[in-house]
């Protein structure tokens, strides 16, 4: 029997547990030159806010040891144009679309969630309460449990779509926040978003990012992500979607073992546009070699 990669996360049926991470996969269109989008577990879109946003000044990225800083600053075309353009393209593929929602106030999140719920081609919403790059990026909601839970409660009421809440790693008490959003009605938790970071050009005395501060992603942060996935998956009953520095199948497996029911791949797409496909194939191969029937037999199986 061919081992099964299927997972069902918060009611989203996925062919396999490999998703794209928000903000790293464009509208999907860009990567359709390299891979068959319908083979993905799910596509997560760039953060969408109510109105168009210009984002931060450039330079917006910088390479750091085994990682990168970004301060895109949630540049996006606003929810209406997003539906008109990006969703129109994406809905042609047989793949769940998860829309990442950003905002600067509860009302904005609610409004965007409501608008998106009117469309019938969206599989779930991912609440970004963890973008370190802009005031309007939600980190203010992601930093303490009360705000996180309150926001979740309001959005929960505004949509019937499955609700994933994306947590920030820039906190001390990740379990508390996870439990808070679970109680407030989140159907799943995704983590980690980027770590707050900064780099400086010592020749010019200037920051490497125009915004000074950015978000750190890539393999450098993977140990932090694994630790948080492990802690959170023990603390909550809802599924956890793990991400942070996944470059290949073995990295992804660490997340499953730590307790993730699905993974998302971000930064790795930039160096290797086919990385998601390689991970999917690698997972199937891993199950086969280890004589396992389903990826579910790996989830949370860390031997401690």
């Amino acid at each position: 029997m061919k081992p099964s990669l299927e997972v069902n996360i918060a009611g989203i049926k996925m062919k396999n547990p490999v998703m794209t991470a928000s903000g790293t996969f464009g509208s999907g269109l860009e990567y359709s030159n390299f891979i068959d989008l319908s083979k993905l577990g799910a596509i997560v879109t760039k953060g969408v806010s109510l109105k168009e946003q210009q984002g931060n000044l450039t330079p917006r990225i910088y390479e750091t040891p085994c990682g990168m800083l970004n301060s895109i600053g949630l540049q996006n075309k606003g929810v209406e144009k997003f539906i008109l353009e990006d969703m129109a393209f994406l809905k042609e593929f047989n793949v769940p679309i998860i829309v990442n929602v950003a905002g600067s106030a509860i009302e904005e999140y609610v409004e965007v969630a409501q608008r998106l719920s009117e469309e019938d081609c969206i599989s779930a919403l991912e609440l970004n309460i963890s973008c370190p790059n802009v005031k309007a990026g939600g980190l203010v909601f992601g930093s303490d449990v009360d705000s996180a839970a309150k926001l979740t409660t309001f959005v929960r009421k505004a949509t019937k779509l499955p609700l994933i809440v994306k947590l920030s790693p820039n906190v001390g008490n990740i379990e508390t926040i996870a439990k808070g959003v679970e109680e407030a009605g989140a159907d799943a938790i995704s983590l980690i978003n980027t770590l707050i970071g900064c780099a400086i050009d010592v020749d010019s005395f200037k920051p490497q990012l125009a915004n000074v501060i950015g978000g750190l992603s890539g393999p450098a942060v993977r140990p932090v992500a694994i630790a948080m996935v492990w802690r959170v998956s023990k603390a909550v009953g809802i599924p956890v979607i793990g991400m942070g520095g996944i470059m290949n199948c073995r990295d992804a497996l660490e997340f499953f073992l730590a307790g993730a029911s699905a993974v998302a791949v971000g930064t790795a797409n930039f160096i290797n546009p086919e990385v998601t496909m390689e991970i999917i194939d690698g997972l199937a191969e891993f199950l086969r070699i280890n004589k396992l029937n389903s990826i579910l037999e790996v989830v949370g199986k860390l031997k401690v």
């Binding site: 984002g55 917006r60 540049q75 930039f270 290797n272 546009p273």
Partner: protein, 257 residues
């Protein structure tokens, strides 16, 4: 646009810290246009998290192409260590490429430093199309000068400006440009590539003289294919991604900071 392994046919140090790599890659060579670039994995085993973008410097028939690069940091340092026979992981061709309309009669190419890279490929195209052009190249000194040795091109249409006067005109390439304008027939179009500050000056001079100007912009790039929004620039028709909407822009469209 393909993601492909290309074999290194040759590596040549053409000036101090400036290398030319010749890559065997029919899939890219067959379709690449002047001004387009490739996104290259430098170093081994995903040693770097990001690729590095390099303009196509020259197309060698439908089978191979060249890039010309300067060592400026860790990625280019690693790339300089590659040897003939090694395999390079590249994505390309990327970006829009230079527009050369049929009506162009007389053009001027202006390069600052390593900005000479894409202009060679363009020069070849202009030459093939029998469109006359002059070339102005600015660089620090004669040791940093990349020979612009396009076969059959009349050498005396290539002019250098060096900071120390060790080759050609002593001064900046924009000064040379101003001199050139005084002494020569006004070009229809200017094509330019180089540091941002230089591009801005060239663009302003071109505007003042009513000359069309196309420039190749640089911004730090992660994906190179339009997905990550790291490489944006402000234009009169809104914010654009340098990697897909550029790297070539009409200078009159750019909103300079």
């Amino acid at each position: 646009m393909v993601h492909i392994k290309a074999k290194v046919l040759a590596k040549i140090e053409v000036a101090i810290d400036i290398y030319k790599l010749r890559l065997s890659c029919p899939k890219i060579a067959a379709s690449v246009l002047p001004g387009q670039f490739v996104h290259v994995e430098c170093g081994k085993d995903r040693e770097f998290i990001l690729r590095r973008p390099f303009s196509v410097h020259r197309r060698l028939g439908g089978n191979a192409f060249e890039i010309l690069f300067q060592v400026v940091g860790k990625g280019t340092r690693a790339l300089a260590e590659i040897e003939k026979g090694d395999i390079l992981d590249v994505i390309g061709p990327l970006g829009n490429g230079f527009e050369v309309s049929d009506t162009v009669k007389n053009t001027l190419l202006i390069a600052g430093g390593i900005g000479v890279a894409p202009l060679m490929f363009l020069a070849e195209k202009l030459f093939a199309g029998k469109i006359p052009f002059d070339v102005l190249i600015g660089c620090a000194n004669c040791k940093k000068a990349v020979p612009f040795d396009l076969q059959n091109i009349i050498k005396d249409r290539v002019f250098f400006a060096t900071d120390d006067g060790s080759l050609g005109f002593k001064g900046t390439v924009t000064e040379l440009f101003l001199n050139h304008l005084k002494k020569n027939e006004k070009p229809d179009v200017i094509y330019t590539c180089g540091p941002k500050a230089m591009l801005k000056q060239v663009a302003l001079i071109a505007e003042k003289h009513g000359i069309a100007c196309f420039l190749s912009l640089e911004e730090r790039m992660a994906c190179g294919i339009g997905a990550c929004l790291s490489c944006v620039c402000k234009t009169k028709s809104g914010q654009k991604r340098v990697c897909v909407d550029g790297p070539i822009f009409d200078a009159s469209e750019i909103i300079w900071e």
